[in-house]
């Protein structure tokens, strides 16, 4: 634990900003894409008769 805290204290804040940007980008884009897919699925599914929604 001490080693981790020491490493965090010595870490370059500039590096962390790039790391944070990469993670925010990946999580954000995948989340937005998932939401878009689900919302569009509901919109399209509403127009489809229940017998054509074979996964239900």
């Amino acid at each position: 634990m001490n080693a981790l805290l020491l490493a965090a204290a010595e870490a370059d804040p500039n590096e962390w900003s790039y790391v944070a940007a990469a993670y925010a980008l990946v999580v954000g884009v995948i989340l937005l894409y998932a939401i878009w897919t689900i919302v569009r699925g509901r919109k399209v599914g509403r127009q489809l008769p229940p017998e054509d929604r074979r996964w239900m």
Binding site: A3, L4, A7, A11, D12, N14, E15, W16, Y18, V19, A21, A22, Y23, L25, V26, V27, V29, I30, Y33, A34, T37, I38, R40, G41, R42, V44, G45, R46, Q47, L48, D52, R53, W55, M56
Partner: protein, 287 residues
Amino acid sequence: MNTTTGGPLEDRETGSGAGLLRVHPDGTASPGSRRFGIVLSVSVVVFLAVALVISPPDSGAGASENAMGEMVRIMYVHVPVANACYLAFFMTALASVMYLWKKTEGWDSLAAASAEVGVVFTALTLATGSIWGKIAWGTWWEWDARLTSTLLMLVVYIGYLALRRAILDPVVRAKRAAIVGLVAFANVPIVHYSVTWWRGLHQEATISRFDPTIDGGKLFALMFGLLLGVALYVWLMIHRFRLQYAEARLESKGLDVALAERRAEAVADRPQAGAPLAAAAQKGTNP
């Protein structure tokens, strides 16, 4: 799960139920995919803790002189999204072959859905690689063999998706898209082996042939990320495939309705077209 309303069956039929397991009646989710989504969400939180907090930076006593410090953490998302895009494009190629063989709508829908998910993952691969490059190489972009071939792969699959939108006839579209989906996959091995075939800025594989260049917590974080990337691809594919299938069914129904209307118009026009002929026959003259 809501045990008082009759369980998942009732949830499916009415869209009712309580809590996280509630399934929207019109959506692409099923009780199974909902459970999978919950497990994935928890896994993402655990992964973020492992990758950003628990795993050590690449600057300890055992690190090489090319130690990456905190930047090693970008690898835990960059490599998994790259791996997921390979998987997505492999699935597109496989489904394209199956479509050309079986000629069924489902394979075409699977190929299209996987290509779109693959494009999202490829764009993320390039973006995270670019962030990495800014610190490691001092530039956002370099015309290195790996970067260039990955960009080409992205452009080709965007072209595949554009082709699908450009052709209206579903059968022609499916056939042409299957051929393009199959040919486009030829670029995937080139992307993967580009770091071996052409020496450039991009490093060689970090984990290959069971001889990883990292170990301990870093290797665990990377393997966790790889598994999570595959699981995310599968979850996205479940929903995206169902959406694609639903759109194809709607399109097919739209075509059926249009054809039925056209036939009805043709039947309605027929007596009118034959009327002058009948009148001429009664008079015994040519119309």
